[in-house]
Subunit: 555 residues, 2 copies
């Protein structure tokens, strides 16, 4: 028996929703030929990553083995699956395979980063396949919320793996192919080693609803609205954008797309021919000439993003359009946990303008793009794999998914980011734990999430900042008084004198009594000045600020 | 006819959920005698108020008229109604009236702040009343989630006002009196000028459920659990704490309360005799000696608060107790919008420990303490006021509440914080707009939300910070090189040299070419150094940092 093995190693997505990146390997231990499925991003927030622009998976492990990497396969064009492809092209170098629409989006990203568009290869759907070293990979159409979403059929000498990507079971998904149980049954026929399966909606207990149920409700809402209607959803939810546009058209309204992402997505869908029947749209300029009761704006910003079209409309104006009393604003979306405050802010701004805000709280205007628990079970039953490996979920989602497998006597394997599983053993076993994590893209720089940059920012946000400046002469005697500048701290403290005066006075007194050894030693002196400043802050304003000390010596 | 008038002026709570503070006045314009109903706080978040400890209403208007202020009436002991009482006692000085339990909590706060406990007066419930200038105020028991919650019956020479406080319609609320429709009908009998009414749950379309429906479900869950069970809810949801404890007792478990707030609340309830039948509890020390399958911990931290008992259990240990595989953790609570990430973090930590996490997603283990839309309508129907003034809600809640009034041909008045309404006119009219807002308690200092302190902190969190230090001699010539220290910025930028080196080099070059006039002018020089630093940051790391410049002159 050969000692070649099949390995599975999530670098992102297994332990979080977002930032998907899954490695598969085949070969002798440590010499496996590798492929990567998806290379996505996730988004920062003020609580844990202030000032960060984008969060990427740490692919250092893969970079070290870049010579073993045959190819990258992207299941669909959502940012959490394709978003990091261009960011790592120079470090990974592998060709990127995707179906036409996804490839179109990936190429735009490559080109924005100055990478060759031809690194992205367009593939045809299953039953066609791509050879990549020991792997043969097919893109099997699966229903989701964006065109040409695919589950991957990954054949290795060690067996077949089905990697679902994001999916739902929808027989009428609006865009993209309908879910095809017969095709999946056929794919499962030869026997499947592992089903690596979306877990996002594992806690949703009812069968998922079809995208097609949403359109009629939206049409009713628009038809009954007297003023202008604006609707928002994720631009990348191309299915919903189309549902909205068609509902608007049926309600007799002109459609106007607003927000760059919105236009880019529809453009890509039309360009690649995956959305031939999108209703005609008018430009924002032309929209101004149309009576408002005949207009439907479809806008970006369903998550309350501050710079998106919805936020700008809520602030008063976007591209010349304004919302006003009697208009309706529809959130055809789910608010992602953590975004509630931003969304609430926009709702209240519209409320102040007299605009009626409608959201999905009655369950009429949104359906999820992910498989709910019964749908996951249906997928298990179709594929009948030797094991299910839950992916794309926080720990609790993966664990719950394993539980529902176990309840059906199906082997469930819980493998979080960094867990390399050997799938070829009789019992799947942990082969190795690999260092993984997150990279932050911040301005034009990438650095590790644990590098301390963001930790210091959070500290300044919580505690404010003091710059302390001391100048010493050649005898280590202070030249003039210590100087402080504060940022993010109150002007006055307990003694009702300016905080900086109190800090400077305390620092000055400290310098007066500091001994020669302390004054002669930069590090020691800085530590002491920092300590005095923090102590003084504590007694004056009940708070220890962050402190930067600069000691200058005139000698 | 006299020109005396009845006024209503929300200083907090009308435009937000939390921070309730409502002024009523009676008298000649500008000379009204005043009372204040509730004086609560709201809580900061990292997005908008990093580092802040507590948010208080800005009561400057009331401070200016403190000689007109007869008294403060507190409807119930939740922090968003009573939390600011002690913070403003020295500025307002008015006596505080509340029922025994609320008064107990208020006195603890007074005493913590070194104020006299006797400033808090205990009152008996309706039909007893308190005279306060031209006002006669009665505390009419109303069901909520904490003992002795009351709606206020406020009689003025200009008519009767009913101020609901927070309420729900619950005939079996567990703690506190049941909702009593007959009493309210009687109160309404003489005619009510205005119903000032809770709006928190106006978007909930179904009738509210009774607290009594939750206990049996929780008991079932506990009875079926094999390991230890820990349950969390707001400590101030005294009704739920009791429901949990009783369910645990029925399931044959010993009850252990964990977290200071939890113990404080139950203590106050027992001390004041409002909760005579709370099950016996064991201390954390004793709990360690009890088999885990016989234990129910009731713990603080339902909102994912980092320092609460639940977070500490999720981190590994709290007061010697640890959760482990096979245990169950119950969130008997609703996650307040904005807290989802913190709650999710704890859920995942427990998941990693093998602890089963149960929340209210099936609607079994939590009910709200607020009146839903049909219950609000029932209250309108009971009171039949001349007008309804929605309070305690964001703008969209108040607006929706007005809408449901209008739909029933009942006058609804939308008055947000700072809107002084004259209620005595035939049509209620805006008498004045008053400056209101938020105060931040930050360490030991209070300052205005718009004072810029927090704005600067947010900027540092988003952009990082650079301290720039330049020393000039008596001829305005640089003494040595400029010195930079960075905080919250990456070490290396585009040129792959340390960021500080690049900044210092650019600053040095600038100083070399700066003209004498610039070098002689502190402000001008600082502005230029800041500009150069930000520009240099932009080109090196794609980001303009916040900059503190210190120019020292040796002369």
């Amino acid at each position: 028996m050969s000692n070649e093995r099949v390995i599975y190693l999530p670098l992102g997505g297994a332990g979080e929703i977002g930032m998907n990146a899954y490695v598969y390997g085949y070969g002798k231990p440590g010499k496996e030929r590798l492929i990567l499925v998806d290379l996505g991003v996730t988004f920062p927030d003020m609580d844990s990553s202030p000032g960060v622009d984008l969060i990427l998976p740490d692919v250092s492990w893969l970079v070290k083995r870049k010579n073993d990497l045959e190819a990258i396969f992207v299941t669909h064009a959502h940012e959490d699956h394709v978003g990091a492809v261009a960011h790592f092209y120079d470090r990974l170098g592998a060709p990127v395979y995707a179906r036409a629409f996804t490839a179109n989006i990936a190429r735009r990203k490559m080109s924005e980063h100055g990478h060759p568009e031809k690194a992205v290869k367009t593939v045809s759907p299953w039953p066609e396949t791509v050879k990549a070293g020991p792997f043969t990979v097919g893109f099997a159409p699966i229903s989701h919320s964006i065109p040409e979403s695919s589950g991957l059929v990954i054949d290795t000498p060690g067996g077949r793996i089905v990697h679902t990507g994001d999916f739902k079971i929808d027989m009428n998904p609006g865009v993209g192919e309908a879910f095809d149980p017969d095709m999946w049954r056929e794919i499962a026929q030869p026997g499947v080693l592992a089903l690596v399966c979306d877990s996002t909606n594992v806690f949703s207990k009812n069968e998922g609803r079809s995208e097609s149920t949403v359109g009629p409700e939206i049409e009713k809402l628009i038809a009954s609205a007297s003023g202008m209607v604006a609707a928002t959803t994720f631009a990348s939810n191309v299915a919903r954008v189309k549902t909205l546009a068609e509902a608007g058209e049926r309600a007799g309204r002109s459609i106007c797309l607003m927000g760059r992402a919105m236009k880019r997505m529809v453009e890509a869908a039309v360009e690649t021919g995956v959305m031939k029947d999108f209703p005609p749209v008018v430009s924002p300029e032309d929209a101004k000439g149309i009576p408002r009761e005949n207009l439907l704006l479809i806008v970006t910003g369903s998550q309350g993003e501050r710079r998106a079209a919805s936020a700008q409309l809520a602030n008063g104006k976007y591209m010349g359009m304004t919302m006003t009393e009697g208009d309706t604003f529809l959130f055809s979306s789910k608010t992602i946990p953590g975004n509630e405050r931003g969304v609430g802010r926009i709702m209240n701004q519209f409320s102040e303008m007299g605009v009626d805000v409608v959201d999905d709280s009655d369950g009429l205007y949104h359906v999820s793009g992910h498989a709910n628990r019964p749908d996951l079970e249906a997928m298990h039953d179709l594929i009948r794999p030797q094991m299910v490996i839950p992916m794309h979920g926080e720990h609790r989602h993966l664990r719950e998914h394993v539980k529902i497998c176990n309840a059906k006597r199906l082997r469930g394997v819980l493998a979080v980011n960094g867990t390399m599983m050997d799938l070829s053993a009789n019992t799947p076993t942990v082969a190795e734990y690999v260092d993984t994590g997150r990279m932050y893209l911040d301005g034009s720089v990438k650095y590790g999430a644990l590098d301390g940059v963001v930790r210091d920012r959070i500290r300044m946000a919580l505690n404010g900042h003091v710059s302390v400046n001391v100048i010493l002469d050649e005898n280590d005697e202070p030249l003039g008084e210590p100087w402080c500048e504060v940022m993010g701290l109150p002007e006055l403290g307990k003694s009702n004198a300016p905080l900086v005066d109190v800090l400077e006075e305390d620092l000055s007194q400290f310098l007066g009594r500091a001994n020669a050894r302390t004054r002669a030693d930069d590090d020691k002196l800085s530590d002491e000045l920092r300590r005095v400043t923090r102590q003084s802050g504590m007694s004056e304003i009940g708070k220890k600020p962050e402190v930067t000390v600069i000691v200058s010596r005139m000698n």
